[in-house]
Symmetry: C2
Subunit: 320 residues, 2 copies
Amino acid sequence: MKQHRGSGLVAGVDVGGTNIEVGLVNADHEVVDRAKASTPTEGPDAVLSTIADLVGSLEHRPAAVGVGIPGVVHDGEVLTVPNLENWHERVAIDDDLGDRLDLPVALGNDVNVGLRGEWRAGAARDVANVLGVWLGTGIGGALILDGAFFSGSRGAAGEIGHVVVREGGALCGCGRRGCVEAYAGRRSMETTAQAMVDAGRETRLFEIRDEVGKTKVTSKVWKKALDSGDDLATSLFDTAVETLGVAIGSTLNLLDLDLVVIGGGLAEKLGGALADRIADAAAPWVLQPNPDREFVVSALGDDAGIVGAADLGRALLAQR
Amino acid sequence: MKQHRGSGLVAGVDVGGTNIEVGLVNADHEVVDRAKASTPTEGPDAVLSTIADLVGSLEHRPAAVGVGIPGVVHDGEVLTVPNLENWHERVAIDDDLGDRLDLPVALGNDVNVGLRGEWRAGAARDVANVLGVWLGTGIGGALILDGAFFSGSRGAAGEIGHVVVREGGALCGCGRRGCVEAYAGRRSMETTAQAMVDAGRETRLFEIRDEVGKTKVTSKVWKKALDSGDDLATSLFDTAVETLGVAIGSTLNLLDLDLVVIGGGLAEKLGGALADRIADAAAPWVLQPNPDREFVVSALGDDAGIVGAADLGRALLAQR
């Protein structure tokens, strides 16, 4: 790895449940080099070690590193990481990874970091009041309010996945009932589909899953099933969109926002049509319609996390 | 009215559906004189005229006036005022009332203004992230986020009354279904009680209403019915608390706040026990518990609106 301190290059790290992706990002928010590895399942130490190796493999040494991680982040520590295996303790990632790399490290929640990417270089550029809804295994959210990221008292703001839409409704992965994630999170949708198949309903979802060589009903599988007109997939997806409309409508009543950005795998596979459908589903719930309000999908797709994480690293440099 | 410009006295005006209350407030947020009149039903001109008369009747001429009004306020204009009669147009209250009084006039939404009173001199003093939930005929809300009032893109933020808790549930006054206001707003609760009486259920709610000489089931009537152990009143009130818990829980998941302030007539009649019940009802819905989070009732009661409105007027003076 060549030494290029002061090159203006910052590494952005996107830690996902399946893969860790690292990008070297320039001052124009362009990804100029990349590296990727499977997310280790042995816990924090293995994850940090993999991140350090990936950053070390980039063609230039960055001036700083930003990391987006799927958990509650507060003051540089990860408080909870529900989707990573064998990760039970709090870890001060900024210090630990900073020591390994001898670089400044900034840490953020993955969805906050994704929305930051869109805010800097994508669909939310210069918008003052924005909700990001990231559709994946679960549903993550992030908020820009009055032109700044809002993370709440202890870093836990943005959990639109656990806005309740049907009190006493479907069981959610969080143990509560009726959260929008219980209807529109991919893990819940797959569980529901499996239960309906067990009860005798037909669907091609699981055949398609096997055909494309996946172990889960991924966004790609949903896209194929919906395109093929599969009845059960269509019905579950309609419910997902409907409940997202309720949760986002409630959020707009609370926060009167300018823009909703839909991100994550489903947004990437389904594109603008998904944002339009969710906008239509939210409209009836909104008390004060705003003709200037927009619903869009992420413009950077998978790179939103890398670009946003790098920007977080860049912001840390600027503070020094 | 004596002339006391520069006296540090500001008038706070609380426009309600029933009464307009005006207070003369000193720099310590104390109400030193008061005036009150029924809210005219003939529309904006009569309301403004009454406000001007009330302000004129105060023992000193204030240096500025702040007005809290039950509607969506943006840039000094009232966009919609659902609970005042014969008020259909947008009115630039700041300019109009300013001309009548020859004083600077600031305008705010009534619940925002109530929470502002609590923030300056009551239960929310110096707290960074606060939700105000005002229980009245309807349910109003207001937000302090990162130490500043948050009103959204067009002044419509804070509408926790129209957070949906049961998709497809009870009909709300807004025409939608399942909003928390449909279960916990006084007007909805009275409508439901009446429907259940029509269907043969028994309750003393309407007898108590008549005994205390009211035309509506007011907060006082609810208090008496609950104290007497009335079954239907208790059941409707339990549902109100339960749904408030869902809506506030969803809001805490979205916004990770430090404090919830419960205000309005019911809060005044029922006191801290109401805040405790709502806290217990919200707790199961909260994803990230925060041991420092508190639920309290308004400390200023009815005066929150006057004190907050006066503070809005004072803030306008400070900008000049």
